[in-house]
């Protein structure tokens, strides 16, 4: 089962359209789809292909992910100050 529909079941403010691009090809053109599944959130393309749940949820919610590099930079900044 797709993560998008899981999110819709989880929260009343999340809705999900599962769109077969053969039926609505103009959406594929509008969002410049070159691979599937492509996920669009509030009109903005946020991911192409399947992602792990953690990463998918972060992207849908617009939450930034602290990467190893940014963590190292933050630690270096703290040491320098």
């Amino acid at each position: 089962m797709s993560l998008s529909t899981r999110l819709a079941i989880e929260h009343p403010q999340i809705t999900t359209d599962v769109v077969n691009i053969a039926v609505l090809p103009y959406l594929a053109v509008r969002h410049r789809v070159d691979d599937v599944p492509t996920t669009v959130v509030n009109g903005k393309k946020v991911c192409v292909g399947a992602l792990p749940e953690d990463e998918f949820v972060r992207r849908v919610l617009g939450q930034s992910r602290r990467t190893g590099i940014s963590t190292a930079r933050a630690a270096a900044s703290r040491r320098a100050s």
């Binding site: 089962m1 079941i9 809705t15 599937v36 669009v40 949820v57």
Partner: protein
């Protein structure tokens, strides 16, 4: 989309065998059917026919903008999946091929009112303050 074969019938019977609660499928079809919408309707009728816990309602009259706006659909054909509460899940295009099993899984999850997300994800989602509308673009298989 081709006709419903033995494999699809088997998948459907397995998929709806143990629904926890009744599921309603609303099918908004164009008033003039095409080959693809006829096949889509046949698929939904096969799903509804496989369990007395699946209720299919076909709305194939002329486009009613007010009615369609009320359920949040902007085009037909569209399928609404709900069980008691409407979770805002809409399908545009027949859920056939590999998408059929996914569709049946959605029906089961809606029936159980359980997302199946990990607890960490559920905690993040609870912090949501602004509505999100997702469009997942898939291809027929």
């Amino acid at each position: 989309m081709q006709g419903i074969g033995d494999r699809e019938r088997h998948v459907i019977q397995d998929g709806v065998r143990a629904l926890a609660a009744p599921v309603t499928l609303l099918y908004y079809a164009p008033d003039v059917p095409s080959a693809s919408t006829s096949a889509e309707r046949a698929l939904l009728e096969a799903i509804a026919g496989a369990s007395d816990r699946v209720h299919l309602e076909v709305l194939a009259e002329r486009w009613d903008g007010a009615r369609e706006a009320e359920v949040g659909i902007a085009r037909t054909p569209a399928i609404v999946v709900k069980a008691g509460r409407d979770h805002g899940i809409r399908y545009y295009g027949a859920p056939d091929g590999y998408e059929l099993e996914t569709f049946l899984a959605v029906m089961r999850a809606v029936s159980e009112q359980r997302s199946g997300l990990a607890e960490a994800s559920r905690a993040r989602v609870r912090e949501l303050s602004r509505a999100r509308h997702l469009e997942v673009l898939v291809a027929p298989t």
